[in-house]
């Protein structure tokens, strides 16, 4: 008999089969993922999910008998009070005494349920999305790493020998094993010399010589540095957050923005955040809200606190520019900005905002997206808003600006896809 431990064999033997299955069911899975992400809170998305898909594309048909029809005999255990000739009303479903028996592989025509891992879920979620100019800046998938000291190791390359630690170990070992110090031996030798020169007691000379021999042997036996003393500096490779991005969320919070509009904007921001999080190791988010004046706030305030005032878009742009120049060096950060607004702006500010955007903001940004949110049932799309008309003048050029209108929640995802799709964005 052999006992073999297979536990350490490579895991994930069925991974290839799983990928084939996902590919096979791709169409249904993508649809299920889209439905799931449309219905639920965006924040929950990052956790993977249980997905149910219709069995259609992944059914494994085979010839087998129909559930009903014909004459069938069953032999079953546990007779209580039936006698020969008893008639029993047909149970619902017509199974005839074994109605609960499922089909051979334990599934009926119901949906097929299984768990998608977080990565699989998001991969499908972001399917064929590509950020423009992705290769720009330090946006490499392979993050750079740098060594960081992390204690000592018994093994290592000679160049990383930790001399002090090694010597300390050596010293304590030498003390513990009572290795004679060189000066002790020297002293003894001198004494022997003295005794010899003095030509005194030969007995004492013998003792001293014996002592010397003992010390010498001992110092030869116990090495000065033993391999067990040797220590090396240990380094751990720590990824450097060079692939980092900052996302500016700009939102108009003046009275004309309804809860519905804010909700739309929030969803867009979150999707963008999720997306950036996937591309960059480190993502910072800056929330700037504005009325006729702009302020950097935290997330709670950004979405939930109300404020009144006029609407001057350029204030937000100025604030953003200030923060970017103070905290986010263009060489080290990928800057993304998303602005949400209902399109209102003080007319006199339009030209100012336009200039700011064109000259100062857009050159900083990898991408600047403008989302115009509208009320759910209002037919406001016939007429272009102030801000829309202003920004449209820039969208025609090759600047990294994208603009979209969104009216209800289910439109967010398509708009998002549009904005970052591989095809060139059109205003």
């Amino acid at each position: 008999m052999n006992v073999i431990d297979r536990r350490l064999n490579p895991q994930g033997k069925s991974l290839a089969n799983r990928q084939r299955f996902l590919k096979r069911a791709k169409e249904q899975i993508v649809k299920a993922v889209r439905d799931a992400s449309a219905k639920r809170n965006i924040q929950d998305i990052e956790g993977g999910d249980k997905i149910a898909i219709p069995t259609g594309g992944v059914r494994e048909p085979s010839f087998h008998h129909a559930d009903r029809g014909g004459i069938r005999d069953y032999v079953v255990p546990g007779n209580k009070d039936y006698t020969e000739g008893t008639t029993i009303p047909r149970p619902q479903g017509g199974g005839g005494g074994r109605g609960s028996e499922g089909s051979a592989d334990g599934e009926g025509d119901d949906d097929f349920r299984f768990v998608l891992s977080k990565d699989e879920f998001l991969d499908i979620f972001f399917d064929d999305l590509e950020l423009p100019d992705l290769i720009k800046k330090r946006l490499r998938d392979t993050a750079s790493v740098s060594p960081v000291r992390a204690g000592y190791a018994r093994q290592g390359s000679p160049s990383s020998l930790a001399v002090v630690r090694t010597m300390r170990n050596s010293l304590s070992r030498r003390i513990a094993l009572k290795r004679p110090r060189p000066q002790d031996i020297e002293a003894l030798e001198q004494e022997i010399d003295a005794v010899m020169r003095g030509d005194e007691d030969p007995e004492r000379l013998d003792t001293l010589r014996q002592q010397l021999a003992l010390l010498v042997t001992r110092s030869q036996r116990i090495p000065f540095i033993d391999p067990i003393d040797v220590r090396y500096n240990r380094f751990e490779m720590v990824p450097q957050p060079v692939t980092q991005a900052v996302m500016f969320c700009l939102m108009d919070v003046s009275g004309s923005m309804t809860e519905h509009m804010k909700d739309l904007a929030k969803r867009f921001f979150m999707l963008l955040y999720l997306f950036l999080k996937r591309r960059y190791r480190h993502v910072e988010v800056v929330f700037i809200r504005h009325t006729h004046q702009a302020r950097e706030v935290d997330e709670q305030t950004f979405f939930f606190s109300t404020e009144t005032g006029g609407t001057v878009v350029s204030t937000a742009l100025v604030e953003m520019q200030r923060i970017a120049s103070e905290r986010f060096d263009v060489d080290k950060w990928n800057i993304y900005a998303a602005q949400a607004s209902d399109g209102d702006n003080t007319t006199s500010d339009n030209i100012h905002a336009l200039n700011l955007l064109e000259r100062d903001i857009l050159p900083l940004c990898q991408y600047y997206s403008y989302i115009e949110v509208a009320a759910e049932y209002e037919d406001g799309f016939g007429r272009e808003t102030e801000l829309w008309r202003t920004y449209k003048r820039l969208a025609k050029s090759s600047l990294p600006l994208a603009m979209r209108r969104v009216r209800n929640r289910s439109e967010i995802f398509p708009v998002f896809r549009d904005l970052f799709s591989t095809q060139k964005v059109a205003g």
Binding site: V3, I4, K13, P61, I71, R72, D73, G97, F114, V115
Partner: protein
């Protein structure tokens, strides 16, 4: 028995297992199984695996290596979900009919469970695999792992050469026909898969070289100048019809398949054939293994090799395994093969050692012969589920389980109890239960009966309907489409009453949509 009771120390204490304990326990079991029970086994190979690896093995129909296909991934996904949600436990073990006999045991098992599993799989199933005539006749335990290795690399080399999609289409269709890829009647010599593989390749090459009327493209004219329809008898002779092994027929006769596609059909067919004995002996196989582990563990306890506490743990899981809910219990889902198999084997033991007059009347051959193990060994080697029930189900057991027979006639408004556990009913119940284990009744009998050679090459299948039970409609359509894709031309299915020969229904012809 008192003389064999020696003051043995327990072989292990505590719940944790390690490799030394397993070796000790294995040796003790071997002593009992081989020495006292006279079991014959293949050399054992025990492999310890994790839960994830167990799921892996599940999804590839229990085999340690398998070619790649999405359906295995699908099963894995579902099993994983059920397991993670705690809806379903995993089997404690999987055992493979190979030589050496490989048993997978899970690392989570306690030492007592490992003992149970070793006795159950490494000795019970192992003995059954080695001795049952179906396995001897149909499977090549020595060659199966090599064959699967070949199958795996062959399929992946096809994928490289012809693309995933093309291979997947063939496999999809072949899987749908897996139950119809079995030769039911044995040939003269046991199969050696490797030799046969070589021989059949040569034969295939030869057949492709020679003339085959099916591939004729020029219409033949007889003397009068009309198109001659080849007579049905001739067609049957030409194509070796009727043929119930549909996969075999397609592999050999389909006009459009490439050689590699035929080889893939062949692989699926071989694997299906390999599992055919297991489908026919589930009751006996599990019954045998359960009986063996029960005997061995009791004996070990008797010898003092297992402590009382551990023995209780064993009894607890054994009782769970052989639990049979009544028909009106919500947990009822058919007859538990472990329960019935175990009960029948215990019953045989009782009949052999301590028979009643009734038993003597019903089983004159074995009643009171005093050799329960020899009787059981004979039964294990010479029967399959259906014949085993028909031969050995005793009135005593029918009474104990309170079996009764119900007739469900779709034409009637009520179900009818036809037989219960009384003198009039025993034989009826016995034969009806035996039939429940007969694949000829539980799987539809579908055969290739004709091919239209002169015209559109339509393939004609016939379902021999027994007791008026029809085929499942939607599945039927899909499978026919897959057959059409393999065949390359239209497929027709006729359902014919097996007794009267009357045509019950004709399914509409299905044309190939995406020929492989």
């Amino acid at each position: 028995m008192a003389d064999t009771l020696t003051a043995n120390e327990p072989l292990y204490t505590g719940a944790d297992w390690d490799f030394d304990k397993i070796k000790r326990v294995y040796d003790a079991i071997e002593q009992i199984a081989v020495g006292e029970m006279k079991l014959e086994i293949y050399r054992n190979q025990i492999e310890v695996i994790t839960a994830e690896q167990m799921l892996d093995a599940y999804s590839s129909i229990g085999m340690p290596l398998m070619y790649k296909h999405w359906s295995f991934g699908k099963h894995f996904a579902r099993d994983e979900l059920l397991y993670r949600k705690g809806l379903r436990g995993l089997a404690y073990e999987i055992v493979i009919n190979s030589s050496p006999c490989i048993s997978y045991i899970m690392e989570e098992n306690t030492m007592t469970m490992q003992t149970l599993v070793l006795a159950h799989a490494a000795f019970g199933h192992n003995h059954f695999f080695k001795n049952n005539h179906l396995f001897q006749q149909w499977t090549d335990a020595r060659g199966i792992l090599d064959y699967l290795d070949f199958a795996k690399s062959y399929v992946s080399s096809c994928e490289e050469r012809y693309g995933f999609a093309a291979v997947e289409r063939v496999l999809d269709a072949a899987h749908a026909l897996m139950n119809h890829g079995v030769h039911r009647y044995p040939r003269k010599r046991p199969l050696d898969l490797r030799d046969e593989l070589k021989r059949d390749r040569e034969r295939q090459a030869y057949e492709e070289q020679i003339y085959n009327d099916l591939w004729r493209t020029v219409p033949r004219k007889d003397e009068k100048g009309t198109l001659a329809a080849v007579a049905l008898a001739d067609r049957k002779k030409l194509l070796a019809l009727p043929e119930e092994n549909i996969l075999y027929f397609l592999e050999k006769r389909s006009p459009k398949l490439q050689p590699w596609q035929r080889e893939i059909l062949r692989i699926v067919r071989k694997i299906s054939q390999y599992f055919y004995p297991q489908k026919q002996t589930k009751l006996m196989n599990e019954g045998c293994a359960t009986f063996v582990h029960y005997k061995i563990l009791n004996r070990m306890h008797e010898k003092g090799q297992i402590e009382d506490g551990h023995f209780l743990e064993f009894l607890h899981s054994h009782t769970g395994v052989v639990f049979q809910p009544d028909f009106d219990d919500p947990r009822f889902s058919g007859i538990n093969p472990y329960a019935l198999g175990f009960a029948m084997m215990q019953d045989i033991e009782r009949i052999a050692t301590d028979p009643t007059d009734e038993d003597r009347a019903w089983f004159p051959d074995i009643a009171g012969n005093g050799e329960p193990m020899a009787t059981l060994r004979t039964a294990w080697s010479q029967y399959r589920d259906e014949s085993f029930v028909l031969q050995f189900l005793s009135p005593a057991l029918i009474r104990k389980l309170k079996l009764f027979k119900v007739k469900n006639d779709a034409a009637e408004s009520h179900l009818l109890v036809e037989a219960i556990h009384d003198d009039r009913g025993y034989k009826q119940i016995r034969s009806a239960l035996a039939r429940q284990y007969d694949l000829a009744y539980t799987e539809p009998d579908i055969q290739v009966v004709d091919v239209n050679l002169a015209g559109d090459r339509k393939l004609i299948l016939q379902h021999n309907v027994i007791n008026g039970i029809p085929l499942d409609e939607s599945n039927c359509k899909q499978v026919m489409r897959l057959i059409a894709n393999l065949w390359g031309y239209e497929v027709k299915l006729i359902e014919v009453d097996a007794r009267t020969g009357a045509t019950l229904r004709e399914h509409s012809d299905i044309a190939p949509t995406a020929p492989v």
